[in-house]
């Protein structure tokens, strides 16, 4: 009796499981698996639209939050052969994915024509192959509180770093905290200085460092020196190393600091916390005759798994992702600065001064531009920058530490 009831239960279970399985593989083109680092709320409208237009395909969505959790989940799925057909390729794992031949070359796919060169090169291999469809970019600059600036008679934003430091001094003398930046990741001004320098040198800076014909000390010392003047000249407290980006933003929203470094993602938060604040974003002022520039990068791209079970549907999905329709849904959910040529994103007016540069790809971030060992160098750079801010390392020592680290990874 007992045995029979157990058997019956087991049969029921097997049947149930069978139903679940056959449900997915129903339609014509079948099932497409998609692993994203955006959450379900963001991606659901896009997927729903895709399924509506492709009745045969059912998208099975899964996600993990960026960055470490996403990277480790994808890593274990790839190793066990259970990775999704389409997944996100990011700066943090692109080298490993490309070198391990886990992603498909998209170079000749028609949907890439809609994407600017900058986003293509970010996820390209050494042979000109392109491994990710990146549909957005971000740029980070200085966010100004225009009312506080007006208090010291500043009506326009500074164009050079010297002017910027002079403005900091003026604000400080007026009893206003001039500027804050969290030093728990790569510094935005430093990245912008390096970006301007790299653009002026024909985008050869990092290739030279990584092929051994130049060193970090050749390029980094001057930008580091200029950046560290904020602390050398006593304009900003050395305590900033312990601040998170959120804390910096709260200080700004509460009107306690006149300028912060910020990305597009900070603007909605500031608007919510302080709707009446008059704000504007601008690129980081230039050093040594260089132009103002933005720190920033191409957003993570969508890649097709080299072992995808449904390559055809995966290509269809990518082709759909950069249509104006899909972009409109994605942009609405994320507020991202999308870069596809046939869609104009609706953005906060505070971002107007940076949008065209971001869309054109005039942004730079060292850990994206580096050719290998990106995260190893990034962790080292962050720690070294904190020492520099504390006055415990010189710009020369910081640059030399990066050279040492790079040498230890080859």
């Amino acid at each position: 009796m007992k045995l029979r009831s157990i058997l019956a239960a087991l049969t029921a279970l097997v049947m149930l499981a069978g139903c679940g399985g056959s449900g997915g593989s129903g339609g014509g083109d079948g099932k497409l698996t998609f692993f994203s680092w955006d959450n379900e709320e963001t991606m659901r409208p896009v997927i729903a639209k895709f399924e509506e237009q492709n009745p045969g395909v059912k998208v099975e969505f899964s996600n993990a939050p960026p960055v470490a959790e996403y990277i480790s989940t994808l890593q274990s799925r790839i190793l066990s052969g259970t990775a999704a057909d389409v997944f996100v390729i990011a700066a943090e794992n692109k080298t490993n994915l490309i070198n391990g031949k886990h992603v498909v070359d998209l170079k000749d796919k028609p949907f890439l024509a809609n994407v600017p060169d900058f986003n293509k090169t970010t996820y390209s291999g050494p042979d000109g192959a392109v491994y990710g469809l990146s549909v957005a970019s971000w740029g980070a600059g200085v966010l100004y509180n225009q009312d506080l600036l007006a208090k010291v008679g500043a009506t326009s934003v500074p164009k050079t770093w010297d002017e910027f430091l002079a403005l900091c001094k003026k604000l400080k003398d007026a009893g206003i905290t001039p500027y804050l930046e969290s030093v728990q990741a790569m510094s935005t001004p430093l990245a912008a200085f390096l970006g301007a320098q790299n653009a002026a040198a024909g985008n050869q800076m990092d290739s030279k460092i990584f092929d051994g014909s130049a060193k970090f000390t050749d390029y980094w010392v001057e930008p580091l020196t200029q950046w560290s003047r904020l602390w050398q000249e006593g304009l900003v407290t050395r305590s900033v190393t312990g601040l998170t980006g959120d804390q910096v933003r709260t200080e700004f929203s509460n009107g306690r600091t006149a300028m912060i470094v910020a990305g597009p993602w900070d603007v909605p938060g500031v608007r919510k916390e302080a709707p009446k604040l008059k704000i504007a974003m601008a690129p980081i002022p230039g050093i040594a005759g260089g132009k103002p520039y933005l720190a920033g990068a191409a957003s993570p791209g969508y890649a097709i798994n080299a072992k995808a079970k449904n390559k055809e549907a995966a290509e269809k999905f990518l082709a759909f992702l950069d249509t104006p329709e899909a972009m409109a849904l994605y942009q609405k959910a994320t507020g991202a600065i999308t870069v596809t040529k046939d869609f104009q994103p609706q953005l906060d007016e505070a971002l107007t001064p940076i949008v065209s540069d971001v869309r054109a790809g005039n942004v730079y971030l060292p850990q994206i531009a580096w050719k290998r060992a990106e995260d190893i160098l990034n962790v080292e750079a962050t720690a070294q920058l904190q020492l520099l801010v504390q006055g415990k390392a010189t710009p020369e020592q910081v640059a030399a530490a990066l050279d040492t680290k790079l040498a230890s990874t080859s």
């Binding site: 470490a68 030093v183 305590s239 312990g242 804390q247 720690a383």
Partner: protein, 319 residues
């Protein structure tokens, strides 16, 4: 006692000695095997979840495994060489040791007196007990984020504004100065762990018979003498357990320093586990991370064994 006596009395019709032994051993064997049957699931879980991964980790530590492709090259002990010469990993080792010893000593020093106080009868005792126990309830990562705001180095930080309004002092760079950051992490850990360990001590305190104290009071022992000569020695088993947990937990710490300082400034609050996770997952250096993990496992094992050995000796001497 009666059972043993009865068993030794020979009775008529009893089986011969050899038969008895055989039957005895059979039933005993059956009993033992039945008992051990219960161990099978545990052993399976142990092998699958511990022995296999540990062996694998050791194997990967000898290769240049990136975590993305199973065809890794054998590189011998070079990963171990890299681990032992990397300044960030050595810094991680230093802070992990400081954290472990610091929290173990401070929590023990605060939790025992706290438990003694909480053991006394007073108004709203249960409420006070739960207030002290509370920090053990939420996840340490959440505590880290909350304390991040409290210890904000800006003048607007909670602690700094309190200090400013009370004494006109500060602002202090709680999490931005290497020494202060290390201290802050340890102090928050002590704050978070003290209540939990006090409850552990409380449980042991309640098992000490009240007569001891009555007799001591009659003999004219002062409160201090009672604490030193009765409470402390009888708490030795609790001290051993509490410190064992503190030492092993401290060596494995990750969440609190990471949420408070991300390991900074510089590498001053970097931990070994952060090193393992960062290099293994984000940096695609599984081989290297495995080597670090193997060394770390050995170190934790050594510390645990040494600690047990020392505490056994102390226990034997005291009790």
């Amino acid at each position: 006692m009666t059972g043993r006596l009865l068993a030794s009395v020979p009775t008529a019709g009893a089986p011969t000695a050899t038969e008895a032994t055989r039957r005895f051993s059979w039933s005993r064997a059956r009993e033992v095997s039945a008992n051990q049957l219960f161990l099978v699931p545990v052993a399976l879980v142990f092998v699958v979840l511990l022995v296999v991964p540990l062996t694998q980790t050791f194997y990967w530590s000898l290769t240049d495994f990136s975590g993305y492709s199973a065809d890794a090259k054998f590189v011998g002990l070079s990963n171990y060489g890299k681990v032992l010469t990397d300044p960030s990993m050595l810094a991680g080792l230093g802070f992990t040791l400081a954290y472990t010893i610091g929290t173990a000593v401070l929590i023990t020093a605060f939790a025992i007196p706290l438990a003694v106080v909480l053991n006394k009868k007073f108004f709203a005792r249960n409420l006070v007990r739960s207030v002290f126990f509370f920090p053990a309830v939420p996840s340490i990562a959440i505590l880290g984020l909350v304390w991040g705001y409290i210890l904000s180095p800006l003048g607007s930080g909670v602690l700094n504004s309190v200090l400013d309004s009370l004494f006109g002092a500060g602002p202090y760079p709680w999490l931005s100065d290497a020494t202060l950051a290390r201290l802050s992490v340890i102090v928050v850990a002590v704050w978070g762990g003290m209540g939990w360990h006090a409850v552990l001590y409380l449980a042991y305190l309640q098992s000490i018979p009240a007569d001891y104290y009555e007799v001591a009071t009659i003999d004219g022992a002062s409160a201090r003498q009672q604490f030193v000569h009765i409470t402390l020695p009888l708490l030795t088993p609790a001290i051993v357990i509490s410190n064992f947990l503190l030492m092993t937990g401290g060596l494995k710490v990750f969440d609190l320093p990471f949420t408070l300082t991300k390991g900074g400034p510089g590498y001053s609050t970097y931990t070994i586990t952060q090193s393992i996770i960062t290099s293994g997952v984000a940096q695609g250096r599984y081989g290297l991370a495995s080597a670090l993990a193997v060394l770390f496992t050995f170190a934790v094992g050594l510390v645990a064994v040494a600690q047990l050995w020392v505490s056994r000796r102390i226990e034997r001497r005291v009790l």
